[in-house]
Amino acid sequence: MSSQAELDKLIRSDYEAGFVSAIESDTLPPGLNEDVVRFISQKKGEPEWLLEWRLEAYRKWQAMRLPAWAHIKHPPLDFNEVSYYSAPKSMADGPKSLDEVDPELLRTYEKLGIPLHEQEMLAGVAVDAVFDSVSVGTTFRAKLLEAGVIFCPISEAVHEYPELVKKYLGSVVPQGDNFYAALNSAVFSDGSFVYIPKGVRCPMELSTYFRINEAKTGQFERTLIVADEGSYVSYLEGCTAPVRDENQLHAAVVELVALPGAQIKYSTVQNWYPGDAEGKGGIYNFVTKRGVCHDNAKISWTQVETGSAITWKYPSVVLRGDNAVGEFYSVALTRNKQQADTGTKMIHLGKNTRSTIISKGISAGGSSNAYRGLVRISPRAENARNFTQCDSLLLGDQCGAHTFPYIESRNPSAMVEHEATTSKVSDDQLFLCRSRGIDPEKAVSMIVNGFCKEVFKELPMEFAVEAGKLLEVSLEGAVG
């Protein structure tokens, strides 16, 4: 029966052979089927095993239903309206100089204190003379290679380090993990691959920032970080300035593997276009992030989420080994019509595993901000320990703040604690600031910054400064 169905599919796909010309071009027409998956794989010159892997993911995805449990509302997504492959925009299409860039965007950059040449790059101006991202990238790469660290696009890693990619790709987030992860597995465009060898402390903080042009090409990026025994890496992700992106759907997958004794610190500042005040446009951000911690390893997620029309994101840690440690620090700010449903999962499998969750949600305007988390203690996780704190701050009476923490404990020696509070900005604090001559907007921004401090201190320094400023910019007009 199933072979008959397969046959039918093949017959049909032959019948719809409208892709001959498309293969020649750089952008696929909207729609998703096996041919599209094959096209992407072929375009990237991928080996047979990876194509099979993608196709398996695609078949699993077809059998899945769109998840409906999150506290978000959006019009039904049509996955056949999306184009799944588009070559990087050539520099010729972009604005020729800063004069052609939206002045409002430039003002924002200025407030964030971004240097001029970086402003040009972020706005997509062709700036090879001033700021050659390619050469900058290569300089750092040489220095990293000296330490034995591999840091390259995943499409390159597939060719250069096939054993590593084959071994770890999908080992943390399998193809059929969830709807969006399956979609990503089938059509992922590119992403980063990092490998830190045994006992190596990565000499610098790695960042997708260096490869921002490449990162921008895909709505479906895939990141894989493997930290071998006893190594350490700090990875920064995201853009520190608003990127005007026409793309509607963004479904990324991030996989972290911390082998025994390794430490991975993953920091994100996400500020995709959140849509306008009426909630028109903006990115739908559906991201699957997960790490596996082996014995004595540690994974720490830190995120500052201020952008996207919809954020659906649960960076998780599977504490597989004994004495493993998982951390999650999050600030999520929503305003206007933004919706966030974000949180984490801490799966305690090993003995003496520990996890900490600190989540700060700030909702303003008519937005909705939800924390959703799971702490699971398996029967053999002796002496596991979890502490969770979720605080919500409400600015305005039209917004919503929600908390959905799932706690499943199956070991009596484990300790799990969860606390959550919801409140508005205290009048006393505001009054104090105002009596010292601080205007209301600045005062609220100060108080919000204080509210988030616990998370900001986990961010690398430059990031923390920018995150604070970003919050300030995002809060503009949200008060009063």
Partner: protein, 423 residues
Amino acid sequence: MSATAQEPLNVQLKQQALALARAGLREDALQSVRRDALALLEHTEFPDKRTEQWKYTSLQALTAGHLTRVARGNGASLPAPLATHRLVLINGHYQPALSQLPDSITLTRFDGSRALAAETASDTLRTPFAWLNNATLTDGLQLDIADNTVVDAPVEVLLLATDDAPSHCQTRLRVQLGHHSRATVIERYAATGPVLTNAVTELVAGAGSQLTHYRLQAESPESLHIGTLIIAPGRDSNVHSCQLMQGNVLRRNDVRAIMAESGASLALNGIFVGRGNSHIDNQITVEHRVPHCHSEQLFKGMAGDTAKLVFNGRIHIFEGAKGTNAELSNKNLLLTPGAEVDTKPELEIYNDDVKCSHGTTCGQLDAQSLFYLRSRGIDAAEAKRMLGFGFVNELLGALPDQAVAEWARPWLEQALTEAEPAK
């Protein structure tokens, strides 16, 4: 019929419920209530594992066919009364001969002889089991307490379910407290045999009234209980509800408190103890619909042996419910390695002028305290019981009614003993 057995359990249950509801249709003053409920049942699926609110609770025990047989009784004797005034229902049917009612309370039976203005509409009930209760409504009690009345002594309502075979009974209770009145109601469930009690209880407190409510659920281990409790506090009223429950094959409590009148204050507490392979699932929702209401919840659970405790506490603050103060605390102890606790405190808030918090913990008895007690010559089991008492003492000590407090201590003692795994 063999084809039916192949169907998934939730489909079977729906068919059984529909059969019961259709058989229960009759022309009397309550017919519209039954019809509405039947219509809802027809259009709703019974829960299975994929239903979010039933994620941790399986209805597998109902494959024994509880809904296909009505409990007939097995002549079990009544437990000793807790109060001078006691009303008795056996398998959902009122027993006037065994009951004694104080003068200050008017009693009405849901027997269809007259329409009651106050029947709760099915859409307030929300779950298929509660609709089934409405659809088969042929007996049950409404207690009316007039305005400006103080009922001095507590009133006990004993709801006994007995049968020797898997069967079910539907129980219904409604307490309507007039404005500026005061009363204490003890809702007490008892069961012998593998009977499923499908209970619906409504508490309606008038403006400025004070209602103290106890829900004692110490049914036999082989029994099942699926219950819905609706609480509607009136303007500036004060409702205090305390639930004591022990695990059995399946215990599911859906509690919905609707704070729809300003100034109301609600305290909702509970102690639940799991024994053997028992299951307790508490689903509590407090809805703050209007400004200036106050709610406080404290639930403490202890899971022994291979028991499973589920707790879901949701606080929902509606837009415009300014000045709300809502708190929820759920603390759990896992007493044995085979036990499980699944808890989820939820906040859903649509207003900034609120003070809300929830907290939950899950842990074990303190090893040092145990050691201390043992070093004083107290054996391990006794020491565990003592610490278990210490864990819930803030709730036990706060029980305002003497008779209930006296009942609760030996009950808890026994519950904790039963929570120890069989050697």
